[in-house]
Symmetry: C2
Subunit: 359 residues, 2 copies
Amino acid sequence: MADEPLRVPFEQLKSTIRQALLNAGLPEDVAEECARTHAESSLDGVQSHGLNRVPRFIDYVRRGWVDPEAKPELVGAHGAVENYDGHLGPGITNARFCMGRAVELAKAHGIGCVALRNTTHWMRGGSYAWQAARAGYVALCWTNTESSMPLWGSTEPGVGNNPFCLGIPRQKGPVVLDMATSQFSWGKIGTYRLAGRQLPFDGGYDAQGQLTRDPAAIEESHRILPAGYWKGSGMALALDLAAAALSGGKSGSVMDAEGRGSCTGACQVFIALDPYLFGSEEQVQQMLDQRIDAAHATAPVDAGRPVTYPGEHTLGRRQQNLREGVVVDPAIWAQVQALAAGSTERIVDLSAGEVSTQR
Amino acid sequence: MADEPLRVPFEQLKSTIRQALLNAGLPEDVAEECARTHAESSLDGVQSHGLNRVPRFIDYVRRGWVDPEAKPELVGAHGAVENYDGHLGPGITNARFCMGRAVELAKAHGIGCVALRNTTHWMRGGSYAWQAARAGYVALCWTNTESSMPLWGSTEPGVGNNPFCLGIPRQKGPVVLDMATSQFSWGKIGTYRLAGRQLPFDGGYDAQGQLTRDPAAIEESHRILPAGYWKGSGMALALDLAAAALSGGKSGSVMDAEGRGSCTGACQVFIALDPYLFGSEEQVQQMLDQRIDAAHATAPVDAGRPVTYPGEHTLGRRQQNLREGVVVDPAIWAQVQALAAGSTERIVDLSAGEVSTQR
């Protein structure tokens, strides 16, 4: 039984996080929305940006790096585009607000774009693609971050592993791509090290400059590998430049110079598109289902593991975790319970992979 | 001297391609625009989708897979979004028209989107990001294609290596990401095989299901590797679904069933955004330059090879090739010269890497 994961009912997880956030000074509505989003990420199996991030978020609130009272402020609007200053408010509520506005703009113009600056960590980027997909909209969104990954051909971090998300509404389960531009996150690398395992593919370089699957060697060199080598590197830099240009905000290198870490001051772009402008919902949904059926029908490497579309595992995990309880890290769960009970002790970040980088 | 590449002046290259296209039945204005785009791709060093594609394009015109007279037809418009049917016209003129419309829509609405269906191969996707960047607009664009790459966890092609482009206008040289979702193109793999060389990184699987750098083994297995393993696979499928949904067109699997190859019937999405809505051009350009300066300043792996941004090499190559002549493949150049001289012989595709795939 020692290997059985600790599971917590979803409502208990959410209400505990909510109380911890209230204790940290978040207004009720903000605490509710942030707690729901963190809890839903863990529910969907994305613990790294769900429960596991709550202590660090509260630490940032205490340091004054996140302003729990700040609201996004409209600083410009033109046609189907709006520009907001996030005033370092909670990244989740800033991002949810902006994706909501992008959907509203898309209702009026067919497409809508919101460019957000001076925000903070949005946690799981896929949350906002899910949000738009639930509303029936295709969504593109991305964020920049401070540097955590060497650019291709460099030995030191020079760009964020800026994630890119693409969501497509689908009645049988949305397609949601949520893709960091590094091959593995620092969190994943730390998780493998703690488990004493090698990565399944090369994830970075060792101190001798050789590609390696050894997580400890990558943490030592700080040379995490971009996904697709030069491709993920170029994509990360282009996403950074586009986000900062469109929002009038800070590029990753400006965030580096400020040195606060974890996306503090980041820029984000949210684009929503109406997929039913020129074809009926029935036609579009039928096309999506047929395309996915074709993907499922391709010969698998392992007979028991059919090909999946991005986000396909999520719904299954969500249902299982609603039934059986959400898997939590026992130490972090205890920490958040203590914060919910009113602990004001200094917060130690227990999430994996934080030994070697700011993120 | 045997290793000196054959170089042809840009204007001669363009006018020869133009005459070959006129002989194939393209109207004058279409021949001019297609010839310029093919020649500019070779000028920028992208021979694979420049001169090298001209014979196959003409073969497709002869087969009736490309209609040289067809023009994009507006089939729907809503706010900042337009939908066109490409009627299997030349992919280059269809795409250039649609990106031009996206820019016009962005002038009115801040952002513009054109979704195109029933088009043909757009050749070099970056051409359209460059087009928008030259006009001062940020651009996102992508295309779907028939299947050329196994989805992650599959042993047979099930998705196109659908490219994604992101362009950012910059006075000192635009940033243009032009990224296929496979790690290497079939053309690149063929080029390595012909040169008797191994790929610099794993590019696919051999017949035993092991990752390999051996181009011949990948051509034998047909198992090319998505960039970033599951990441490129998921991105390729999501881009396919989004393009088909937004345009009301054919997904990759429908194109597979039709079996004509080379993007015949493809869907494309063109999004243009005005980066100077909320900040002055001077402010935005200064931010871009500072960010790129910071990237250039990161420690290189090789002291003589500084880090670059996507598209940075292009301007240098363009200037060199304008001065010294555009590098061409001697056999393909001879073939296009013969087509320009009126040859009606059956066209043999001499471009590399076409032994094992439709693309």
